[in-house]
């Protein structure tokens, strides 16, 4: 495929709000995870929290968009305000016209927290939800897409992709097709997922949440740490003078195996990575680093290791950055996409800060301590419930 230029990108996650803070954490090997301190969800686990416990996470919600006010959209707003992203989107709006810029956002649970809270405060007599509760602009999966679109003043085609933990990786694929077909000239893609009861208690019910911090690929790994995150990227046709970093390829497949556990040999994951390489017309040896999905559940890491080893062997450096950010679910794709771009822009490979003893069964080229060095091409994996797999391949412009 013809590469897409990534003119601007930003990530806000538990390890850092904005690219610079995230980069400092990745370089310094500092995890953003902490013991769960949510008084509204007192579960014995660790979380990757962004909102509500730091001075730098306050956002002024715009008065004209007050109806969209909820945790998920506050997180979206916080991320949009970093790295001059709003200005970059405004520039695209002027260059192409607002109707020629699409908005594609991935999320798994959107602002479901608003509905969870409304169900806790039903009117005792009638059982009705509180009058102040709004579904359409907070909980509906499209609420954040519509919020972002209005905030940025973009009127091109927009939609939400919700394929669980691959959601905000797949938005890149959608944007590439729309741009290739000339339906739009550029797109704001991204992902937002915020902490809520549904995922904290839901993943706990599946016994997939670690009591301790998540430890990807560790012999003692016991599950994931749920995080929240938001991130965005501005993608457009590559041309002379366009951005130095690009989307080179992508692959999307289905496991067709099980709703909540991966194919044991990572068959769908392997095909997604192969497709991404094929679209980019690259050989595995031309990839410098693989950012693993690496959730730290026993089954996920084992399956992914199998698939990555089959495609890349043991020589290509791999790591999971979930130990920095936690698993941001529907926002994992954009979070790790932005991390991949940071690795290319700043020439380094991050490690796995919470992993102590690598599982001897693992055969892929796991990097535990981050290191500096040239990184020109990065594969980023995202896999989700329903057997939804997406691999993205980013690189420096040739």
């Amino acid at each position: 495929m013809t590469p897409l230029a990534i003119s601007s990108y930003t990530t806000s996650n538990a390890a850092g709000i904005g690219n610079a803070a995230t980069l400092r954490a990745l370089r310094g090997g500092r995890s953003g995870l902490a013991p769960n301190d949510l008084d509204w969800a007192p579960l014995p686990c660790w979380i990757g929290r962004v909102l509500g416990h730091r001075a730098d996470d306050r956002v002024e919600f715009p008065a004209t968009l007050r109806e969209f006010d909820c945790r998920n959209n506050r997180l979206a707003l916080l991320a949009l305000e970093q790295d001059d992203f709003v200005a970059a989107a405004g520039d695209a709006r002027r260059r192409f016209g607002p109707q020629r810029v699409g908005v594609f956002i991935g999320t798994s649970t959107s602002g479901i927290l608003s509905t969870e809270l409304a169900y806790q405060h039903r009117e005792p007599q009638t059982g009705r939800l509180p009058a102040a509760y709004r579904y359409e602009t907070t909980h509906n999966l499209d609420a954040t897409t519509e919020f972002v679109r209005r905030l940025l003043g973009l009127t091109g085609p927009a939609m939400t992709i919700s394929t669980a933990c691959s959601s905000s990786a797949k938005v890149f694929c959608l944007a590439e097709r729309f741009i290739r077909l000339g339906l739009i000239d550029a797109a704001v893609v991204g992902g937002v997922d915020s902490l809520c009861h549904t995922t904290l208690y839901g993943f706990s019910s599946l016994q997939l949440v670690a009591p301790d911090v998540c430890r990807p690929f560790d012999v003692a790994r016991r599950g994931l740490s749920i995080g929240e995150a938001a991130g965005f990227a501005l993608v457009e046709k590559a041309g002379p003078g366009s951005a130095a970093v690009q989307l080179l390829g992508y692959g999307e497949t289905s496991d067709a195996h099980h709703m909540s556990t991966p194919h044991p040999q990572g068959e769908g994951a392997r095909r997604a990575m192969r497709e991404a390489l094929d679209r980019a017309r690259l050989e595995p040896a031309q990839v410098d680093y693989v950012n693993l999905h690496g959730t730290a559940t026993p089954a996920n890491d084992r399956a992914e290791d199998h698939a990555v080893h089959e495609v890349f062997g043991a020589a290509i450096p791999c790591s999971s950055t979930k130990g920095f950010t936690g698993h941001a679910l529907g926002a994992a794709g954009i979070t790790e996409g932005a991390i991949a771009l940071l690795c290319i822009d700043h020439k380094f490979v991050p490690g796995c800060p919470t992993t102590r003893n690598v599982d001897p069964e693992m055969r892929c080229g796991l990097v535990i301590e981050g290191r500096d060095g040239p990184v020109d091409r990065v594969m980023s994996n995202s896999f989700g419930f329903g057997g939804s797999n997406c691999a993205l391949l980013f690189g420096r412009a040739a």
Binding site: L129, D142, M159, S162, H197, T253
Partner: protein, 260 residues
């Protein structure tokens, strides 16, 4: 503008149990008569999966199976795009009720709550391993999902199964999301030149021209259903006098569908 072939159609709604009856209603050869919808059990789902699945999952798979029966194409060869306004419906309600009380969420309830549960169950049932997407665009979900599916047909030259569905919600959440009837539509879309298709559609994005209206025959109680817009779109396949249908895509845009 993009051109795709419609190879097969599936329809499920009260009074519209299949495409044959729906086509006659849309062609004005018979009046629309309301009746209860008895969603057929999906035959492709293994009994264990069927038990675990939600009514929304069964609705989506059932309407897809109906379309698949009318095409020689295999589901394994198709990419998949599913779309819904509020996919989880009943599950969202049950989950939020549990979370407001004991918080003892069941694992099945949780994995059924993801928006892509229907496409996940479907891909398992059919052993369909190509790309699967799950789209939401609020009340504009039908047109957005169709646009996504058509773009994939053209860009990757691959047949795509497109399914759009809405499943009823219980009280109290139905106060804010008033889906009262289940409606669903499935389309098998191909790059064309197969010769076996029902018709070709030209699809284009256009600025919105005034408020979008509903056809008279569509019961007003379906106006909260994004997939009911799909039923309106089928007029262009059934009614010889109606080649052009405009579907709302956003507050500013329409998706224009023209039968060639």
């Amino acid at each position: 503008m993009m051109r795709v072939s419609i190879d097969a159609v599936g329809v499920l709604a009260p009074g519209l149990p299949d495409w044959t009856i729906a086509r006659a209603v849309l062609a004005k050869q018979r009046a629309y008569l309301s009746s209860l919808l008895d969603t057929p059990q999906p035959v492709s789902l293994a009994p264990a999966e069927r038990r675990r699945s939600s009514p929304t999952v069964r609705l989506a798979i059932s309407v897809a199976e109906q379309a698949l029966r009318q095409t020689p194409l295999l589901p394994q060869d198709m990419a998949m795009v599913f779309s819904s306004y509020e996919a989880s419906g009943l599950i969202t309600h049950q989950l939020c009720e549990t979370l407001a009380g004991s918080r003892e969420v069941s694992p099945t309830q949780f994995h059924n709550s993801v928006h892509n549960a229907p496409s996940g169950y479907y891909s398992i049932a059919m052993h369909a391993t190509r790309a699967a997407s799950s789209v939401c665009r609020g009340e504009w979900s039908f047109a957005a999902g169709l646009l996504n599916a058509v773009a994939q047909v053209i860009a990757d030259e691959v047949p795509v199964l497109y399914v759009c569905y809405d499943s009823p919600l219980p009280a109290p959440i139905c106060d804010v999301m008033p889906v009262v009837d289940a409606t669903a539509i499935a389309l098998v879309l191909t790059p064309g030149n197969g010769g076996a298709s029902l018709a070709d559609w030209d699809i284009a994005i256009a600025p919105r021209r005034g408020a979008s209206t509903w056809p008279d025959w569509i019961p007003p109680r379906w106006h909260a259903n994004a997939s009911a817009r799909g039923l309106a779109a089928l007029e262009s396949l059934a009614d010889p006098g109606r080649r052009f249908v405009s579907l709302p895509l956003s507050p500013e845009l329409d998706l224009e569908v023209t039968r060639c």
